[in-house]
């Protein structure tokens, strides 16, 4: 490794060992390496959430770009009034909600897509590229998948957000409430309603 390579490596190790507040402060002062490290701490979750909510890798990519660019531009205004995760997810969820609303207006997201093999469920197409040969996934019937997808899409945007962030991202209800600008109790009620709708829709399958 040349000297510059060693320096970069050293910087990465340095940032990796720092706590989040120090990383944020360094990034606020314009340290690019610190900003990238901060992005890497959360970007997989952000991309997963956007991909699940929007069921489109392209839209997820766009949300990722816009969210982290907004973080980059506004990081100087971050005052540690809430956790960085809450602040970031507030941006991400607002972007996703906007995208879902726009999609609803344009009705551009049909549940099925016409393919050479006839109409196919959008969700099944997304999975085809990545599912691999996981036996558990293969066992899951197409009907259950379809039912899950339609039930998720039938949730209100807020129920959907709460459910996705709690179930898939493992965020605490308190943090979810803060992210969505509401209380923990309200987030809890959204989770109850979402779970109840799921139970009703999937009751006969599980």
């Amino acid at each position: 490794m040349d000297v510059s390579g060693e320096l970069v490596q050293t910087a990465r190790v340095h940032w990796a060992s720092m706590d989040e507040s120090s990383l944020i402060r360094a990034a606020q002062k314009g340290d690019q390496e610190a900003f990238e490290q901060l992005v890497r701490s959360y970007d997989q979750g952000v991309l997963r959430l956007a991909n699940r909510l929007l069921r489109s890798t392209e839209d997820a990519y766009d949300i990722y770009q816009e969210a982290f660019l907004r973080v980059y531009k506004n990081l100087g205004n971050f005052r540690f009034d809430c956790s960085f995760q809450t602040w970031l997810y507030r941006i991400v969820t607002n972007l996703c909600l906007d995208a879902l609303r726009k999609r609803k207006v344009r009705k551009e997201e049909p549940a099925t897509i016409d393919t050479s093999d006839g109409p196919r469920d959008r969700m099944s197409l997304v999975e085809d590229g990545a599912a691999g040969n996981d036996p558990q996934r293969n066992l899951l019937s197409a009907e259950v998948k379809s039912r899950i997808d339609s039930t998720l899409r039938g949730l209100t945007p807020r129920e959907r957000m709460v459910f996705e962030m709690r179930h898939y991202e493992g965020m605490r209800l308190r943090a979810i409430g803060e992210t969505l600008g509401t209380t923990e109790e309200a987030a809890k009620n959204c989770l109850f309603r979402a779970t109840q709708k799921m139970r009703v829709a999937l009751g006969e399958f599980v």
Partner: protein, 305 residues
């Protein structure tokens, strides 16, 4: 307080997600151990959650890497613009001299100042504070002894600041912005000017400036802003020709992606060949994916045969 079956079944989601208070969780556990009906409800909920996990779409492997690359490019473009803008802020402060306080006078004033400042700095001035002068900056042209034998004579070139205010309705303001969008040495000024001009892209002179910027500006941030102003012209022949060239030659994947978006607002068979060519030479996974999708929607093959 004893826990009822109703309470358990209502709060099972909180139990499985570990969101109950510690004492509630302990009592719930005790109840579940002794109540087959509630245990059955828990098993059903667990099975449902497993089904949900299995049905979740997974991300294509390349997506994260592609998103990180795209972000790096976009941040880099923003930094470039910001660095140049900062340079100009310092230049403006220097032009103002000590004691000069610039109050927010709107972006138009900034554009005008930078424009005149740009003209001045091109000549590489030597700045001095000329006594009794309201000039923003002064360049000493020559110095000589006064023929009277007393004192000196100093010849100065002075550049004056002028604050220009006005709306885009005003042709002289538009002209200033058009010049700044094309001629200024500073991407920050170009980006600001292009962004303002975008709101008047219906005028052919302004559209020409945007087309020039999107194809020739050295800064990706400026090109991106210009593209934003051309969205409404996806049917315009000249716009399509320029954007097709941008699609094939722009070095920034974000710009290429936006060009695809604008062009495909009005799908047309004339796009097939350029898109196939793009598929052939494109090395960015995300741009390839989007191009492939557009071709598929147009019932065209991704390759050239």
């Amino acid at each position: 307080m004893s826990i009822t079956c109703d309470w358990i079944q209502r709060n099972l989601p909180l139990y499985v997600y570990g969101e109950l208070k510690l004492d509630e969780e302990e009592r719930a556990q005790a109840h579940l151990d002794s109540c087959p009906e509630c245990q059955g409800a828990l098993d059903k909920l667990t099975a449902m959650n497993q089904a949900l996990d299995s049905a979740a779409p997974e991300m294509p492997e390349h997506l994260l890497a592609s998103a990180r690359r795209g972000l790096r490019e976009r941040v880099s473009a923003v930094r470039e613009v910001a660095a140049e803008s900062s340079l100009w802020s310092r230049a403006i402060a220097w032009l103002g001299g000590p004691g000069m306080i610039w109050k927010p006078a709107g972006a138009l004033a900034l554009v005008a100042l930078a424009f005149y400042g740009g003209r001045m700095t091109e000549r590489g001035p030597v700045s001095v504070a000329a006594p009794g002068s309201a000039a923003a900056a002064t360049r000493v042209r020559f110095v000589e002894a006064d023929p009277s034998g007393r004192g000196v004579r100093i010849s100065l070139d002075e550049t004056r600041q002028r604050l220009v205010k006005g709306s885009l309705e005003d042709p002289s303001i538009r002209q200033l912005l058009l010049t700044a969008a094309r001629d200024a040495n500073d991407p920050g000024i170009r980006a600001e000017s292009v962004e303002m001009l975008c709101s008047r892209s219906g005028e052919s002179e302004i559209r020409d400036a945007l087309l020039y910027a999107v194809e020739h500006d050295a800064n990706a941030g400026v090109r991106t802003k210009a593209l934003g102003g051309l969205k409404a012209f996806s049917k315009d022949k000249q716009t399509r020709q320029v954007l097709t060239r941008v699609l094939l030659k722009d070095s920034n994947s974000g710009v290429r992606t936006q060009a695809i978006d604008v062009l495909t607002q009005t799908p047309s068979q004339d796009m097939v060949a350029p898109l196939q060519e793009l598929m052939r030479r494109e090395d960015n996974d995300y741009v390839r994916m989007r191009t492939q999708r557009v071709l598929s929607q147009m019932n065209a093959s991704p390759g050239i045969f």
